[in-house]
């Protein structure tokens, strides 16, 4: 450019930076808390994780070139914060990672329980089941998953991590992520099936002999 300018790089004041940070954090608060709650299960723990993640984010804000990219960055910090909390607790309590014994639940399929062949998708019991499920039923089923399965479920299903990203964060082999997700899916669907039956949601349990999957 030929024009002579004496422009200098705009310096964002500390106050303006803080305001922008606060604005973004406020917009993301429901998702930050929701994710932390699914991970930590208890509201108090979830609040601590969110507060610590925000504090860490502020202390590392210089590493972020563009505040408009804060969302993904802040969520990564949140996940790291939870994982370190969780590892410390496991270590303190000298606990092994809780894994459910293999008993066929990973093959449990709600679809196979509900599906009736020859019906079109939009009028099927499985679609009706999904539409009738309450969000709190799903949250409850996720919260009841053992840690090892719940954490990968939240990272991959809720937060959209790839298997590789989840493997890196949790320091686990890719195959373990895959098998835990598969198992988590079975456990989650079995829990939803049980909750649905208790709530009288499913009218078709056991009515179709073609369905496979273990009986509950």
């Amino acid at each position: 450019m030929a024009t002579s300018t004496r422009q200098s790089t705009p310096v964002v004041s500390q106050q303006a930076r803080r305001d922008q940070f606060e604005q973004q954090v406020t917009l993301l608060m429901d998702r930050l808390y929701g994710t932390a709650l699914r991970l930590a299960r208890h509201p108090d723990d979830a609040e601590d994780v969110v507060a610590e993640a925000i504090s860490t984010a502020w202390s590392k804000l210089d590493q972020l070139n563009d505040l408009d990219h804060m969302e993904g960055w802040l969520f990564r910090i949140l996940h790291h914060t939870f994982i370190s909390h969780w590892r410390r607790r496991q270590c303190r309590q000298n606990r092994e990672v809780e894994l459910e014994p293999e008993n066929g639940d990973n093959r449990f399929s709600l679809f196979e329980k509900l599906h009736q062949p020859f019906l079109l998708w939009w009028g099927t019991p499985e679609k009706e089941f999904i539409n009738t499920l309450l969000q709190e039923d799903i949250s409850k089923a996720i919260d009841n998953l053992p840690d090892a399965y719940r954490i990968v479920t939240v990272l991959v299903e809720v937060e959209g991590y790839s298997y590789e990203q989840a493997a890196r964060l949790l320091d686990l082999p890719l195959g373990t992520i895959r098998s835990r997700l598969w198992r988590a899916r079975g456990l989650l669907q079995k829990a939803l099936w049980q909750q649905g039956r208790e709530a009288g949601l499913s009218k078709c349990g056991g009515q179709h002999p073609g369905a496979s999957g273990g009986d509950v």
Binding site: R18, F21, E22, V25, T26, M29, D30, R31, L32, Y33, G34, T35, L37, R38, P43, E47, V50, A51, I54, S55, W58, L110, F111, L114, H115, P117, W121, T124, E126, K127, I130, L133, Q135, I138, S139, I142, T153, V154, V156, E157, V158, E159, G160, S162, Y163, R178, L181, W182, R185, L188, Q189
Partner: protein
């Protein structure tokens, strides 16, 4: 996987990876071709997709006012 036609069992085995976009292009295309022709597998995939959407929504929960106040006070001290 058989290149010309994969079985329903193979689709079920790989459906989760397919929905997570973890399959390579060829394997993913094989499943898509199967889903176009197989009503039961299509219904199964739709069911799993819808359920995943509902699970994903569980990450959104109204933050308590107490947390919002705590964070606001914390940021003011930064």
């Amino acid at each position: 996987m058989n290149e010309s036609w994969i079985s329903c069992e193979e689709v079920v085995e790989h459906l989760l990876d397919y929905l997570h976009r973890e399959l390579d292009g060829d394997a993913s295309a094989e499943i898509e071709r199967h889903l176009e022709r197989c009503h039961d597998c299509f219904s199964r995939a739709e069911f799993e997709r819808k359920l995943r959407e509902r699970v994903a929504k569980s990450g959104r929960q109204e933050a308590p006012e107490r947390l919002r106040r705590r964070v606001k006070e914390m940021i003011e001290r930064f």
